[in-house]
Symmetry: D2
Subunit: 137 residues, 4 copies
Amino acid sequence: MLLADIKIRVRYAETDKMGYVYYGNYATYFEVARVEMLRKLGLSYKELEDSGIFLPVADFQVKYIKPAFYDDLLTIRTVIKTKPGVRLVFDYETLNEKNELLNTAKVTLVFISASTNKPIQAPEYFLKKLAEATLLS
Amino acid sequence: MLLADIKIRVRYAETDKMGYVYYGNYATYFEVARVEMLRKLGLSYKELEDSGIFLPVADFQVKYIKPAFYDDLLTIRTVIKTKPGVRLVFDYETLNEKNELLNTAKVTLVFISASTNKPIQAPEYFLKKLAEATLLS
Amino acid sequence: MLLADIKIRVRYAETDKMGYVYYGNYATYFEVARVEMLRKLGLSYKELEDSGIFLPVADFQVKYIKPAFYDDLLTIRTVIKTKPGVRLVFDYETLNEKNELLNTAKVTLVFISASTNKPIQAPEYFLKKLAEATLLS
Amino acid sequence: MLLADIKIRVRYAETDKMGYVYYGNYATYFEVARVEMLRKLGLSYKELEDSGIFLPVADFQVKYIKPAFYDDLLTIRTVIKTKPGVRLVFDYETLNEKNELLNTAKVTLVFISASTNKPIQAPEYFLKKLAEATLLS
């Protein structure tokens, strides 16, 4: 299991008239969190795309427990539980500064070859980096 | 069962560098679709809020099958399968102009009293309007 | 002069904690308005891009007078005052349902060839469609 | 003159099908930059709002020179040139990692009393913090 805590500050643009972070904006937070987690592991999502592999989202699930508010400094706890194959799965917990659990989520991505537009196995160098990594925080 | 087909045109701002509609933007499409469905039923989400009842999202699930592209005129098929209590559940299918199924989703909202910040039953007038309604399209 | 009134309904996602439409979201409204105006003229922005011509924004100015609120049905009055050359300029006024002027804006786009990445003159068929058009509403 | 360089990483959600940061998203970057600049000066925009003073945007101008791309680590150079009165003006330059100037912008905000909904002078403690501050970076 690999875990990284990524900090994201809530922007004014991301709030709605209830004063809450709009429920759809967590998709962006989770994207930022997985990209930053991969960066900590020495993996660049941008380089992956530049090498001809895309990682579109196949499945997204969120369970909202409490809202986040403007200027909150959120912790997005990002976890990879299983070795990726064709799919790469991230589990998330969002916590606020009082360490309250705001929501839990799961995002499933699929490795796609840009040339064939077909699913492919995770590249070897990608798996190697994950295998070398130890528990992060 | 109540069903409404809501049309949404993909905006340039909603695409990403893959050329796809960014996965998080469907949350907004589904919000628009349920609000427009309620409007067809004679129910205004804005008036609901003005009367002191909020409907935050408690659960959101999407399964992505195919991408949508810039300028696509999407059909968001929006369905209420069960009579609301404290919760109001919408099931969705997104279709493109070729009638291809792009994704399926489920959004669960909770009726919350603005004064107590606690869950409450769906208001009577709301249930009455749903009961009066027949199959839409 | 060409003028089109484009209607846009404010989405929940587009409001902020003040209850106003977030100031940056008008950029998207103005994009939708110019694309819909061109569609009324028989011009497709998507086809323009597919033909190898991009129209990135070179200049954007907004003067905000009053806010828009959730569920407002806005009128984006969109005007082309001058024949496009390398540049295409749109002037905007945003009005609410009470016909109050909410803001005025100007967006300048530049025709760019995708193959050379250099500015080019507006294509002939584009100018022809504009010349044929009469005052819209 | 007060100056702060604020770093913002481009998110996938913020790109469009051209591969550029969508032109409207700079409004959000400039919001983040001014809030972080104020934080460096010991001023919290959130606390300002909690004390009953809002700062809506009255005027926004951007001149786009070059695009930003996914994963770019942008520098938003944020400058206050003049002592605020009823208005607070920020001048911006966006630079990429090669130190190329991507755009310049100006945002004018107005101090508004939440109780009267009328413009007011910048509060004393706010001006005091700005007066105490020296050139930042």
